[in-house]
């Protein structure tokens, strides 16, 4: 089959707030249920200011490392873990998800959560990853992390909170700018 040229992306703009969020969008499982953790963070711009108009999506395996293919993310029944969620940041730039610690998808692999970020002023969505901070050995062997210098690498690793939750901030620009990923094999012309 011939390779088609992909359609360009565009900014999500300022007015997604009445369209993309939905009830329990950020609750991959019910808060307080067994195994649930809070994943939270703040989205910052290049001036170090929190931005109030970004929206994030996470997509992750379950606690056993299985990729889930179950419907029901938009109308959650309260017990089916679908692996996907969406959270618009609040006025202070903070987002929150209720989810589980992802398991390793293969023995010895470093577990991570895949992230897509959209914002007013961001021309196209960006992809990144949130790694769990535990299992130094797996993190050291991870193909992506080991291809980054230590300073940049740390932008992809969450902090473990005292209550078992995860904190991970996202910086669109600046000194400790988050590492964003390009999955296309051809050199991207978008920069």
């Amino acid at each position: 089959m011939s390779k088609l040229i992909p359609t360009p992306g565009q900014t999500v703009g300022p007015f997604y707030g009445y369209a993309l969020p939905f009830n329990k969008d950020n609750e991959l499982l019910a808060p307080g249920s067994a195994g649930s953790i809070r994943l939270q963070g703040t989205v910052y711009d290049g001036a170090g200011d929190a931005i109030p108009d970004a929206i994030l999506e996470i997509w992750q395996p379950d606690a056993e490392g299985k990729v889930v293919q179950r419907t029901g993310s938009l109308v959650r029944d309260g017990y089916t873990f679908t692996g996907w969620g969406r959270a618009a940041v609040g006025h202070s730039g903070v987002f929150t998800f209720t989810t589980v610690n992802p398991g390793p998808t293969e023995a010895g692999a470093a577990p991570f959560i895949s992230v897509a970020v959209f914002a007013r002023g961001l021309m196209n969505r960006l992809f990144t990853r949130i790694y769990l901070p535990e299992n130094e050995e797996a993190l050291a062997a991870d193909p992506l992390l080991s291809s980054l210098d230590p300073e940049r690498r740390s932008t992809l690793i969450a902090r473990r909170d005292a209550d078992g939750g995860l904190t991970w901030d996202l910086r669109l620009q600046g000194g400790n700018e988050t590492v964003f990923l390009d999955f296309e094999r051809v050199e991207s012309a978008s920069q």
């Binding site: 088609l4 359609t7 900014t11 006025h91 002023g121 669109l172 999955f183």
Partner: protein, 292 residues
């Protein structure tokens, strides 16, 4: 409403508040002293530099530039380091599954969500979601949102003094068919002003959000209407510097799709980036999705 300030997901009600003082917003703000001519000169200079690069053998660009200063809000919101190449792994090679449990069939008709008929020009927007190899993306979620016929969003931050339409919300969803097809009935959105510079207007557009078979194909974009006079003036449309690439966001008027004495038809296909997964015969037509 009383909310934890961190609970960003409770925005729904919060955003559905019409602006109380439509006329206050009408006077151009002092901050917007830059004129369209200033902006157009910047856009033109970037376009000329791109044309020269093309002539010198640079490959055509297919996506918007993340660093596109004429859209002022992008200045502090684009990564300055180049994107890091990564091979997609495990979870990234799959997408969340959506199905008819998630989306009601009536959600694809934006003209029947209230008691009365919305104002404006009724349209049908139809097309296919394909991956980079031309494979239809079946059973996946498509979401749209848009301004009403007067160019006004139901969003409290939209201060444009154009009328709200009590019969139009401007939000739709559907699940693609086995052939990757989607179809919405809606109202042609109006152009609207914004505060990027003095006299900035967005060409009429519908926001689209799509998933592929791999999470790496996730896309949010905007569909435009053919022949819009605002195209050369709009920093968002122009952030895609290649004309062929821009054209991929413009729907085609389709008289065959036009429904007699009912609605005008527009056709627009979306091509996602290539799937990186190794496809088996059984997988190729969307086994993920609606099993329930």
């Amino acid at each position: 409403m009383l909310l934890d300030a961190n609970a960003g997901h409770y925005q729904d009600d919060d955003e559905l508040v019409p602006a109380a003082e439509p006329h206050a917003a009408h006077a151009p703000s002092d901050a917007a002293v830059e004129t369209q001519a200033d902006l157009s000169a910047e856009i033109e200079a970037i376009g000329e530099a791109y044309a020269r690069a093309l002539k010198d053998g640079a490959p055509p660009e297919t996506q918007p530039r993340l660093d596109f200063a004429p859209y002022r809000s992008s200045i502090l919101r684009h990564p300055t380091k180049s994107l890091h190449h990564a091979d997609p792994e495990t979870i990234e090679l799959y997408s969340p599954a959506f199905g008819h449990q998630d989306v009601h069939a009536l959600e694809s008709d934006l003209t029947i969500q209230h008691n009365g008929e919305p104002q404006g020009e009724r349209i049908i927007v139809q097309g296919k979601v394909l991956d980079g190899d031309g494979r239809p993306v079946a059973g996946q979620l498509v979401e749209i949102w848009q301004a009403n016929a007067a160019g006004r969003y139901i969003h409290k931050r939209d201060q444009h003094p154009a009328p709200l339409d009590p019969n139009f919300t401007g939000v739709g969803r559907c699940i693609t068919g086995p052939d990757g097809s989607y179809r919405f009935t809606t109202i042609k959105p109006g152009a609207y002003p914004w505060k990027n510079h003095l006299n900035a207007w967005r060409p009429a557009h519908i926001h689209f959000s799509m998933f592929g078979t791999d999470f790496t194909q996730r896309i949010v974009t905007q569909m435009y209407f053919p022949g819009d006079q605002l195209f050369p003036l709009d920093p968002i449309y122009q952030s895609i510097v290649d004309q062929d690439a821009r054209d991929r966001l413009v729907a085609k008027y389709d008289h065959e799709l036009t429904s007699p004495e009912w609605a005008l038809g527009y056709n627009w296909d979306i091509v996602l980036s290539g799937s990186k997964r190794t496809w088996t015969e059984n997988e190729a037509f969307g086994d993920a999705g609606d099993e329930e």
